[in-house]
Symmetry: C2
Subunit: 352 residues, 2 copies
């Protein structure tokens, strides 16, 4: 029987293109920091292992991945291992299952890897897809990790009230576009910043932001925020950090809240920019709070239903930037740091 | 009757030495930025005015006052008015009252001014003293504004749990010495930093800190904190800001809390130091929250009873640094920024 299983496994071995990290990154990542290699993989789950083998359909490219490319010593944020496949969130189809909760053909999303087929052993990090009638790619975005990030960061960390003045940076990105729309649904006034006139235009016309500005065209971010928020800012949903955070602090209102989702402007700097206006935190009694979506995975099913409802009713729209083919993963990842993506960056790996 | 009142008022005029702000301050304050002048004051409350005239017994010198000496544009933090008396917290005796809640002879503490006699019109900013059996000067410290600051900042903002690792900067100061003792009462492990070996010794021997260090003797604050907190820091009670905050961020544990009480290291700098380690806020899900004691005045009576109990039972001790005479106010205020005070700095203005 063991021999038969072995033969079946060998028989089921297929070619598996994957993206590995070649070297730890300093400064801006380049495509050369990664390499697309071809390995082989067994499509059979090793006997006795509570795991699934999945075929990856969509892979997500997210700014936080840059931090895992740096050699660091932050145990809560493990580094990618040199020479091994880069892990990421994705949408996948189960090929074979070694666990009763999953069966071949199931559609799932969650933590997988930048390759065609992945053996997933941490089954707590994947979720079955309950709304396959919506675009499957949404589970790498609005119905997946970035969606839950926007939702939990905005409602649980920023704690909005109707009428709040809300500022969102990187506002057309995977998370920002959703925070803006959730803010409007909540009855807030919302302004976004982005890095091109095209993106600014999208914020105002497609995503319903009350106002938006192109930060690359502003000489003085403090003045730009003063212009957009004559009453000051109640909530700053921070995706960028650095000088934008510094300017936002000057414009926060009493008891303002800064929900820190990410700091993309800092990830490629060897010496992060200094934030100088923290004294405002005392005078204006500001709360700055970082969060990570992994703490909210327990709330996913509730979120999925609410967000699916919003999408079906047309309350929320979502824009994706889809590259085609595993070979495009390195360029798509690098492009995030130049703002090349318009909307959520993902890569289609295989037809649905 | 009006004439009689007028005559009585004129008759009751007395000499009143007061400390005025001569010029707005940049950089470190000097005694020359202030001036002690002699005016006259009526000891009678103007007819029809809901106010009290008090004789000031003790005046408090606090770091936050430096911020009010700068010309700025922060409406929630009004500047001192040039040529006018500097306001501060103090302990006073009512000389005459125009309000039924107060009568001559009452002992009060609250917002008064750096002078011998003050007409107080904001009666919501003063409190009658319920424990005159304790040293009256305590109402300028442990039973007054600094005490309530330590208590509310530690319990309401930092939200300690038994076993938490707590770091306090400016730890022998008016607020810091209390935060450390409250942390010990709560069952925390507490380490303080201070600016002299004498102060460090006090922290360990008199105030019961588990450990302490002289920050002026440390070349690398990050290394000093790593040495003192091998498990990392759950709560940083920040009185200083700047490089100490930056080092603390590197040493915070998951879900660490930074209660920002003040940033004395930054008040005299024209360009504040940049804080570079804010990215930790995301990876470690840190909350940084500023607060001001004025929001907690509504809880004062409860605090007063609890703190008076601790003092009587010997659970908490308090160290004061008392200068003598109104002429000493400028030097005492300036001295705060050189760490000359050992314990809570106040000035005795008149015998009790």
């Amino acid at each position: 029987a063991a021999e038969e299983a072995m033969e079946a496994a060998v028989a089921a071995e297929v070619s598996n293109k994957r993206v590995i990290l070649k070297r730890h990154v300093t400064g801006f990542p380049t495509e050369d920091d990664m390499e697309v290699v071809t390995a082989t993989v067994s499509l059979a789950v090793p006997p006795g292992l509570a795991a699934v083998v999945v075929k990856n359909l969509y892979l997500s490219c997210d700014p936080y991945m840059r931090r895992r490319m740096t050699k660091h010593s932050e145990p809560s944020y493990p580094e990618f291992v040199l020479g091994e496949v880069i892990t990421t969130f994705g949408v996948s189809k189960v090929v074979e299952s070694g666990h009763p909760d999953f069966k071949a053909g199931d559609l799932v999303w969650g933590m997988t890897a930048c390759e065609e087929y992945t053996l997933i052993t941490k089954l707590g990090s994947i979720f079955k897809i309950n709304h396959p009638e919506l675009p499957l790619s949404y589970y790498a975005g609005v119905l997946g990790m970035p969606g839950l990030t926007a939702f939990s960061g905005f409602f649980n960390v920023a704690k909005p009230k109707k009428g709040d003045y809300v500022f969102v940076s990187a506002a057309s990105g995977a998370v920002g576009q959703l925070v803006g729309q959730l803010a409007k649904i909540t009855g807030c006034y919302v302004v976004g910043s982005a890095g091109s006139d095209e993106k600014v235009n999208l914020l105002k016309t497609k995503f319903g932001f009350d106002d938006a500005f192109n930060y690359k065209k502003e000489h003085d971010l403090n003045a730009a925020l003063k212009r957009c928020f004559q009453q000051g800012i109640d909530i700053y949903f921070d995706n960028v950090g650095g000088t934008m955070l510094d300017a936002a602090l000057l414009n926060m209102r009493l008891h303002g809240r800064v929900a820190v989702c990410g700091m993309i402007s800092q990830y490629n700097l060897e010496h992060p920019e200094g934030v100088r206006n923290l004294a405002c935190v005392v005078t204006k009694r500001i709360r700055i709070e970082g969060f990570r979506v992994i703490e909210y995975f327990g709330t996913y099913r509730k979120f999925e239903e609410e967000m699916a409802g919003h999408l079906k009713e047309g309350n929320i729209t979502y824009m994706e930037d889809v590259a085609e083919g595993i070979e495009k993963v390195p360029a798509a990842l690098v492009g995030l740091f130049y703002g090349r993506n318009i909307g959520k960056q993902l890569v289609a790996i295989a037809p649905e």
